[in-house]
Symmetry: C2
Amino acid sequence: MRTIFPTSGAVHFSTRGEYGVRLMVELARHHGHGPVSLAEIADHEELPRPYLEQLVVSLRDAGLVSSTRGAHGGYALTRDPEEIRMGEVLRALEGPLAPMVCASEDPAHAAVCGRSGFCTVNPLWIKVREALATTLDSVTLADLTRPRETAHPFHAGTAADPVSLRA
Amino acid sequence: MRTIFPTSGAVHFSTRGEYGVRLMVELARHHGHGPVSLAEIADHEELPRPYLEQLVVSLRDAGLVSSTRGAHGGYALTRDPEEIRMGEVLRALEGPLAPMVCASEDPAHAAVCGRSGFCTVNPLWIKVREALATTLDSVTLADLTRPRETAHPFHAGTAADPVSLRA
DNA sequence: CTAATCCCGACGGAATCCGTCGGAATTTGT
DNA sequence: ACAAATTCCGACGGATTCCGTCGGGATTAG
């Protein structure tokens, strides 16, 4: 009997993704006011600091944050929150966002499948990957810093789109 | 050093999802010609039969396939392939398709998060879930039975949409 | 010099994933 | 009646991944 919620469900972001995004949001809130230490973030968000230390390496390697060492050091965004797409953040944290090896953006990875060419379900995974990428790249870090009561949490392109906020 | 491909990537369907979908496709191909045994499918798709036996229970419980026992028995779809959305299949196989507990369709599950109400990143996970659901529910099993060379693998709503096939 | 902070590598318990195995129940064909 | 084919069911176990913890080194500010 599979549990009702097998950790989370079919498609799953790990705590890396979850904590990492929250860390980035926190950095966005302090953007322009100097670096923020992991201790502060860990305290404010109630997250294990040693784990954040491990996480943030990926973000630094991806060039999303810069670090300043020593006392009063910490991390800061390298770009304005409006310029950082959540797709970049999650790729950095969790790896290529493909639901299946055969659906990787990188053709080299996709090739390891073997069933390429005759597999008729591959287009489904591709479509999933595209939907995911489009969605994540359409949201910026700035969108996640606004309080939820705001009228338009995500800059709704046209009017008449209350779906995105009241899910 | 996280491996380049951590099993698959950020968002990941397990082999349950992969094998289960391939099983369903195989059933769709034989739809209307009596039940197909797992031995045949396992042989044709080169998948471990005992594992398929375990898998197919979820599909049966979800009412997607019916079974007939005894010699010459096997499994068959309960509906026409055109009527079976891949969202249903994957929910049955992998559980609720939410990337995060707080983004579950079921409000009871979503409530376990605690951060509800003030968490500003929750809308992102909701949006991901919606994109995923919309995508998966827009593809039917029939779409996956057609050979790939077909002009329109997924019934493209409007013309000028070659994106979906050539990814 | 001290405190704060980033940086780095290693380690380990827990959970999940990916099946395997053995056998019971049911149906068909001979 | 018997044998073969098949679904059905529950348990088990190795491998991998996840989720952190821990200890210490390097760097900077005061």
